[in-house]
């Protein structure tokens, strides 16, 4: 008998149909991955199985979990199933835990809710479960004292405290660094094996899917477009969307060859300390070294990648390069002129640099129209274009990134995430800077959109020599859009060199660990 059987599930909220005729079947001990881009309905499917659909959602069909039809089960009975028969792990570990309760109490609560047992007994079992998920801190800690990876382990401990038959994990590693991701995936796999439970994992990351799943379900716009055992599906994709999805994930771009070696940006022995709050009332303030003796350069027209995990100092470096913050020692120069000039920015230097950020939703002032948004860099010019010249510049910038000049009069909320990143690139390019910093610029995008934006970047490089620093945690992306790469760890650049060389023959142990931890898509010839 199957552990979970979803039959003809349809969900709608108001007039909007979210899921159409979903069918899914899984057995105990099986790892099933649901994948697809944003808006595919994968998370909604998970919430439906938990019986936690948002208010106002209407569901039809059947969800048979361990013999119960979730859609027909009244709420009190559902509460008895949740946490006991089925557990769930969420995407964002930073907010998934109650900030004012100890982690031990939160794990013990799962036990106390479902079993008649003493508090002491529940606490003991909770502590054992926290140990089982590999947490090395005492249960008396509060969530804010833990890192993201540790918090995710607590959430997992809570979900599996009663050894449920099914564990649902909704993007469990998306918010985590690659090395942490690898360990969490390893933990989940071990738990499935040990407890014999089913794992329904929801993720947009096809490399993760390929690595962990026994069975893959591909969803698009609320429908299941393809289902199959992992090996079969990967070697013999049927649906065009599946093929497109996998193709986009391993999308490669062709950069024009970079020649010449005239230095544009130079950073020499940069050190940046941040003061921390005092430990004692009047003692000296301890400091945190965010950048530690960092040196590198970027040539005119050169594309350089910067990889590293969260907390490695990438953002500090970005701010320092952009001249927004001073450094304690060392010097950053652009064409020989220092980028930081105290309170009064040196506009001549600033106009040679622009930046594109990660989050397409926070990159723009929602109260301004596109024309005003993308012409903001004109502030850096001595004589900003006006009248027709301004209109032409706006039209050209928008056309260059594949948008229409008519878009100038619209507000940012009228655009999708991918279009917003195009607008961000238009803003960066409008004053034709020498150097662009792409700060995780494609990380928040769906794979198909990401592929388009990467193509756009390659395209722009073909039109005119463009130097950029491409900051990303995604090695596969860095590999295709950069000539040279810098690897950062804990404020230091531990390795730098030709991208291809560094990624195929890493010398530093940290680079080796990063590459080993990154899940790989199997090479799929027929996918293209």
């Amino acid at each position: 008998m199957s552990l979970l059987a979803i039959k003809a599930l349809s969900v709608s909220i108001g007039d909007a149909a979210i899921l159409h005729d979903i069918d899914l079947d899984m057995r105990a001990g099986e790892i099933v991955a649901i994948t697809g881009e944003s808006g595919s309905g994968k998370s909604m499917t998970a919430l439906a199985v938990m019986g936690l659909l948002p208010r106002g959602a209407k569901a039809k069909g059947q969800i048979i979990l361990d013999g119960h039809d979730i859609l027909q089960t009244p709420e009190p009975a559902l509460c008895k199933i949740r946490g006991k028969t089925v557990g769930m792990v969420f995407q964002e570990p930073m907010t998934a835990l109650n900030p004012v309760q100890t982690i031990g109490a939160q794990v013990a609560e799962t036990i106390l809710i479902h079993e008649k047992t003493t508090k002491a007994e529940a606490n003991k079992r909770a502590a054992a479960m926290l140990e089982r998920v590999g947490l090395k801190v005492p249960p008396s800690r509060y969530p804010h004292e833990l890192s993201g990876g540790q918090r995710q382990r607590v959430v997992i401990a809570m979900a599996i405290a009663l050894r449920p038959k099914l564990l649902i994990a909704d993007e469990p590693t998306t918010a985590l660094d690659v090395t942490t991701q690898a360990r969490i995936l390893e933990l989940l796999r071990g738990l499935v094996r040990e407890f014999g439970m089913g794992l329904l994992i929801i993720t947009h990351d096809l490399a993760v899917v390929a690595e962990i799943a026994d069975k893959i379900v591909v969803m698009q716009k609320g429908r299941v477009v393809e289902v199959g055992a992992t090996q079969d599906l990967l070697t013999n994709m049927q649906h065009p969307y599946t093929k497109a999805l996998f193709a986009a994930s391993s999308h490669l771009v062709q950069l024009p060859v970079h020649t010449g070696s005239v230095q544009l940006l130079s950073a020499k022995h940069i050190t940046r300390d941040y003061p921390l709050p005092r430990k004692t009332l009047l003692g000296p303030r301890p400091t945190f070294r965010a950048l530690d003796d960092v040196s590198f350069y970027i040539d005119h027209g050169e594309r350089v990648g910067l990889v590293g995990e969260s907390g490695s100092g990438k953002s500090t470096l970005t701010r320092a390069i952009l001249g927004l913050e001073d450094v304690q020692s060392g010097e950053i120069t652009l064409d020989g002129a220092p980028v930081f000039t105290g309170k009064k920015p040196n506009l001549a230097v600033r106009r040679k640099m622009q930046v594109v950020f990660q989050d397409p939703y926070s990159s723009f002032n929602p109260r301004h129209r596109v024309d005003r948004l993308i012409t903001e860099p004109f502030h850096l010019l001595e004589t900003p274009p006006t009248g027709q010249a301004r209109t032409d510049a706006i039209a050209k910038a928008l056309t260059d990134v594949g948008l229409s000049p008519d878009d100038a009069g619209k507000y940012i909320h009228e655009f999708s995430g991918g279009q917003r990143q195009r607008i961000a690139i238009a803003r960066a390019l409008i004053i034709e800077p020498e150097l662009i910093i792409f700060d995780e610029a494609v990380s928040a995008l769906d794979v198909s959109v990401r592929a388009q934006v990467l193509d756009l970047i390659a395209d722009l490089c073909r039109k005119r020599p463009l130097a950029y620093l491409f900051i990303s945690h995604d090695l596969s992306v860095v590999r295709t859009v950069t000539d040279r790469v810098l690897v950062m760890q804990a404020g230091k650049i531990v390795e730098q060199g030709e991208t291809e060389t560094v990624l195929t023959q890493p010398k530093h142990p940290y680079t080796q660990a990063l590459i080993a931890a990154a899940p790989q898509l199997p090479q799929l010839k027929q996918a293209v």
Partner: protein, 314 residues
Amino acid sequence: MIRFAAGRLTSLVISLIVASIVIFAVIEVIPGDPAAFMLGVNARPDTIAALRAEMGLDQPVIQRYFAWVAGMLQGDFGTSWTYKTPVSDLIADRIWVSLPLAIYALALSTLIAFPAGIYAASRRGGAGDTAIMGATQLGVAIPNFWFAMILVLIFAINLRWFSAGGFPGWDNPFQAIKSLTLPAIALALPQAAILARVMRSSLLDMLGEDFIRTARAKGLTQRQALWRHAVRNALIPVLTIIGLQFSFLLAGGIIIEQVFFLPGLGRLIFQSISARDLIVVESVVMLLVFVVIVVNFLVDLAYAAVDPRLRTKS
């Protein structure tokens, strides 16, 4: 925790010092010659001279300020010019009306607001929620002194359940509490309306948080999730409001005392203003500000008790 408390204590002391300077400046420096000001234009020069001597006005301002502060630290608030008694005695008599009234009102307000706010949040959009929100909308808009007059009209004049005013003293605690009840209700209900609204919206914010979803996934019912996880988190903003409300209740008490003819600090201060007895005004204002600052300090400590992030934040 100790570090946190020490930090708050430091800012408490600084606030008190700055507040005392402000009050001293307004009362004793701005009028130029406070003695002449207090006695009015028709005062005889020798009376003014006597008051000047008593207030120590021949000394430099800085010295007077420190003498005033030093006196207060020893419980000496000076001597009232009009009552001819130590101000500390005057305050001691009255504070046992004003402070119990404020505490009584705060207790009532909290006791009404918490259940109402929690109930409304747990029945969001339902009839109970709508009724409570409608009532609080009225409560927020009602002037408390007018509400007090209406209460007197209904419960004292028409129904004769309570006396219309006055205070019998604490010799008979039951009578004392009874005579503070209408004033406390008049003070508490409008504040309870505000507090209930804050409680409700704070809870609704919390119910949208990820950790509530996590709790539901563990098998908690919506109500269990609300009680075990949302309420304590929702208390954090609510505590701020309670702290601010205490100062409003204390100050508002001054007005309500007028309606009920209660012999509290309010009466004292108004009589002193009309008698231009600046020594009393200065001391009572300093006392009110002192209580407000101390209560806010206690609220900060309560924060730390509720929120572990404040205790260990490094």
